[in-house]
Amino acid sequence: MTDIDHNIPAALPAVNNSELRAKRQGFGRFNLEVRQHASAWYQVVALAGGVGAGLFIAALILVASGVGFSDLANEFIFSIFSTPRSLSDVLTQAAPLLIVGLAAAVAFRVRFWNIGIEGQMILGSIAATGVAIGNIGPAPLRVATMFIAAALGGMLWMLIPALLRIRHGVNEIISTLLLNYVAFNLLLHLLYGSWKDPKSGFPNSEQYEAVERLATVGWESLTYALPLALILTAVIWWLLNVSRYGYFTRVVQANPRMAAAMGLPVIAVTMGAALLSGALAGVAGFAISAGVEYRMTQGFFVGYGFSGILIAFLARNNPLGAVLVALCVATLFIASQSLQVFYQIPGSVVQLVQAVVVICVAASEFFIRYRIRRIHRGS
């Protein structure tokens, strides 16, 4: 009896409820509730609000670091979309971003966390460059051969972590990440060794010949990398949103144990998505080397891994959404380049600006999931 029957501790004074209530009402009392349905319209508004808030804060940061407000508007809106030159720059930049975004989205759809996109890009580019240097295959089909080699290169690089995960349960976040460093050192080994540019002696591959480049579409400097990215988008959209395989990925993503119990081929679905993700990343490497730089450089892949994750995240793994997000990210890239050049804004501030926009968009997700409600506690 003794233990149960002690009095209410003094720590909680017996306060009249209405008094307590009045005290709380001063601050207002808010409740956080899980939103059960969020209409598509509301989601768009919330996301737009996130983007708006992000751009506003980004503008404040840039103004604080010395860019005039009017210059800012000029740089972002007018100069980018008014001159064909910079518009083509944005579109050129968007193509590889879109492809890495697709690579991330495909893997994330089956909860395979591919952090090794950059490593797979490197292997893709190495495979494509190997085809170019060795003049493998007939010249008219050289670019196509390079494309296939790049896809296979990325896919084979992904085979290692995918098998490790499925056979031995090795966490793919760790294995894909670490393989990035292996791939990078392999790249340096080649570029400082046998593939060093014989003409200039610089550590990058020799320039691709004309037949080894993605052709220009005939408008500004835009190449077929962009149409390629758009075709891949359509294929991935069909695969994920229309085909039976896409349905399997949805079930595997939502509940792998249930998928297994219902007799779905969980391992094949996971493996397929992981390898496809690697192949897409390899193609992205090819798109940069054969569509933008026309050679394999030391740093062509830098930043694309996380940009891909970012694009997939913001597009919620939806390939069509990825087109829009990739365009936005490309705009930020290009605008930030001119900010660095013309306003001496340090690169770190540019990264800060990008991060702020991303955080704001991510935060808008909160308002889609939850509802904040003011509580009136009537008596």
């Binding site: 009896m1 233990d3 149960i4 029957d5 002690h6 209410i8 501790p9 720590a11 909680l12 017996a14 306060v15 009249n16 409820n17 209405s18 307590l20 209530r21 709380r24 009392r29 409740n31 509730e33 899980v34 939103r35 059960q36 229309v242 085909s243 039976r244 395989y245 896409g246 349905y247 399997f248 949805r250 079930v251 939502a254 509940n255 144990r257 249930m258 998928a259 297994a260 119990a261 219902m262 007799g263 779905l264 081929p265 509802r371 509580i375 009136h376 506690r377 009537g378 008596s379």
Partner: protein
Amino acid sequence: MMAMELSGVSKSFDGFHALSAASLTVAAGEVHALLGENGAGKSSLMNVAAGLYQPDEGRICIEGRDVLIDGPIAAKRLGIGMVHQHYKLVKAFSALENVLLACGKGRYGKSIADVEASIRRQSAAIGFEVDLKRPVGALSVAEQQRVEILKVLVEGARILILDEPSAVLTDKEAEALLGVIRQLAARGAAVVLVTHKLAEVQRFADRVTVMRGGRTVASVDPKSRSIADLTALIVGEVQTEVRKPAAAPGAPILKLTGVAGLRADGHRALADASFELRRGEIYGIAGVGGNGQSELAEILMGVLRPAAGSIEFDGVGEIGGDGARRRRELGVVSIPADRQAYALAGDLSVTDNYAVHGIRSHRFGGWARVDGRTAQAATAAAVAAFEVNGVQGPRQKTALLSGGNAQKLVIAREFATQPQVVVVHSPSRGLDVRATAAVHRRLCDARDNGAAVLLISEDLDEILLLADRIGVMSRGRIVREFAAPVDRQAVGMAMVHHD
């Protein structure tokens, strides 16, 4: 003066009224049962008392004083302790560490000694035996529950709320627990017992409050009412289930010989299961939970490979090595105990969850295109036929369905094609009277249509009501078989006494 008075409590979630002006009065020294269907608001009301939910409206009086319970800590200070249906224990911690986590104060070393002394005092007083040193995850469900109860007692709770404490216990364990609850009440505690089991209420509760649709509809003396009366209060109409034996059991369809299965940790939970299932009968497997039932269900579902033994399917031969896909092609369907883990994907729509059974058969389009419209139409038809309520549209998230309706959705899917063998594990766990009756009716229908039904359940009443033959499972073996009708006592004895 009442120990706890809740009056006019309302609470809504995103427009759904979980509680509408509910009231409950509990006196010290009484065991107060709270009855109601799933979704009637029992747990919501208790979560308000425990400080987990903030009511939109209403008054709470504890021992005559108006209080504001704005969190679990406030509830704890007021002497309110709740044992949740799903235990809030850290599995890797020992019982002692779990209790310490909840109510340790001051210096660690001193605190641990204080708490241990307090636990020993409490457990001696009510005759609980709990191993304080072993990790809680290694304890049985009943032992884990004792840890939860000790936790609230050590916290100094004088108002105890137990949310469906006997749902996971065997008859014997439940009996012991309810005895302890009476003892606590006799020592002056106010006990609120949330339950579905009417017989329990009649034997152990002093008073019963019935909830329906978020309102408290009646507060009566359970001993003055019959089970039928209480049921009527709960569901608003009288309905009791009647046993319906099999008309004509047919030929054997599935034969298990010496089947063994390992748990994830390597423990041979299923040691040697041998029995036969016949078409047109319900074979019940009775037993205390954790004696290999889950492993048996997983092996038959095809998600766990048998470690030994053979499973023969009539006319096909050995299927022990086949995976889930092959099993389903043979018409082996399952209604698993853990719906959220094995049967449904909460984040997907009702249609996606339903269509998964037929996606391979080209019923819902080929490999190149899933035919969403056909799938939605088929889902809508099945939802109507199986009376799955609460589906507002084919794209509604499955997680929004209540337990009973989610179970009906699983059954609708599994019975979409004529099943040959139905493996059912605890199909009515957590379901209310009405939903349970609906589930039972479906199982009898499947049997009458010629399927063999394997009913694995820890609820002996359910087994006795439905099964045509009963196998008692203990330590991974079928230790005895009975043909219905059977003596409840005999089955109960076989469950706990074995060699």
